[in-house]
Amino acid sequence: MSGAIVNVRHLARSFGGKRVLDGIDLDVGAGEFVSLIGASGVGKSTLLKIVAGLDQPTSGTLRIHKPGKPAEVRMMFQEDRLLPWRTVLGNVILGTKGHEADGVDILCAIGLGGRENEYPSVLSGGQRQRTALARALLHQPDLLLLDEPFGALDALTRAAMQELLSSLLRESPRTVLLVTHDVEEALLLSDRVIVMRSGKIARSLSLPGPRPRARGDAELARLKEELISSLLHDEGAPAPSNAARLERALQPHD
């Protein structure tokens, strides 16, 4: 299998005394697809940024390696982060030299052929996300980090993007770490789903069989229900007691 290996040991990260990550241990094998889920604010993006080298852990170690050569790591951020002053193609080939032809190829592959010379401001949200994905893939990373890449998309576009990602990974396999809010997305796409709670890994769920999995699978539906109900009891999730307060807050005052 091609792709980088990731070893995370006792990783912790605090922001001003607040411990966001609290002893994370995580091993990802070469070519493995791992999804991270958990309540909002639990530290998923923080973990991903540390793995990407954009943030330093307070303590603990991180190792990313690949036999033979240094591992390329690319991150697709929660927002598309396209440069508005560069064309679509200019954005995709950012940081590379002489890869215009590859850029055009990859844009065709994700359905943006012919849009190379337009500026991001005229693209739709889904097209912008696809451009950002093309940019991450152009570098042929050994480790691909995706932070809610399809979070802002409508259900139909999201399903198309999931298909696209799966087929691109089938053609050139690599290690992927995906952060998502969408439990079903995690179950469909990954080899393993990791649930984070209070800065720790609460659960690691290995999924059988090849990916992507079929959408209608009964076992998958059961797992989805179970994961969602366990996530609902996490802190950060809107608790039932809060629902009453919300209702009061929304009541018209007279």
Binding site: L54, F77, L83, W85, L94, G95, H139
Partner: protein, 282 residues
Amino acid sequence: MVDATSGNLSASGDLPPSGLWRLSGRVAWQLLPWVLPVLLILLWHGAAISGHLNRSVLPGPLDVVDVTISLVNRGQLQHHILVSLQRVALGFALGAVTGLALGIIVGLSIAARQIADLTVQMVRTVPHLALVPLMIFWFGIGEEPRILLVALGVVFSVYINTVSGIRSVDPKLVEMGRSYGLSKAELIWSIILPGALQQILTGIRYALGVAWLTLVVAETIASREGLGFLAQDARELLRLDVIVLVILIYAVAGWLADFLTRLVEARLLSWHPSYSQQGSRT
């Protein structure tokens, strides 16, 4: 409400605009800004020939045209305009390059900011025209004081806008650039400067106005050439028509400078939704 909308719709449906109609509409739209200035000049002219205007207070447009022709024939007007243009260009270039360089350094480096920003902010509060007597004392009435004064007027607005433009660049884009392996130089060239460009150009446009203003004052005080001198000289000779001519030239020059920077802006910021083809109508 509903009736008005449907009425509009049917009216445009009954009258499909022909190509010629639309073209003349476009031309009329382009000419619209000139209606008011032309009207004002006509009013001025009317007041002059009807005798409502005391010519020893304000000469009429035709008097100004006459004096323009005679000055051009003697080769004086071209000469003074050229001298002034040269001064403004030199002073502006000097000030803009200095302000830009200083602004980029201070914008990029926290250490440089800590060292220089307080000083620059203090010096900035001194009106640069207050330095005129000192400049004349140092340099006499040579070219240097005027060019330096223009540069001083320009440098701060370019500096301040460059610094704040660089500071307002989205840090998320910079973080993205770093994670995509851009070197420091590439980061500056591909992300930081384009992100700051809009505000830098705003500073430059403002600075152009300051440059003209400074030049007028500097030339009025100590010069034997240039438009400011021409006006000053005319005042001593009680030539009101020349003074009015110089004022008109300043107006046209200011408008031209603004027009040119807008062209540059539209070109450099063509990626920007509000500067794109569709947006430039306003």
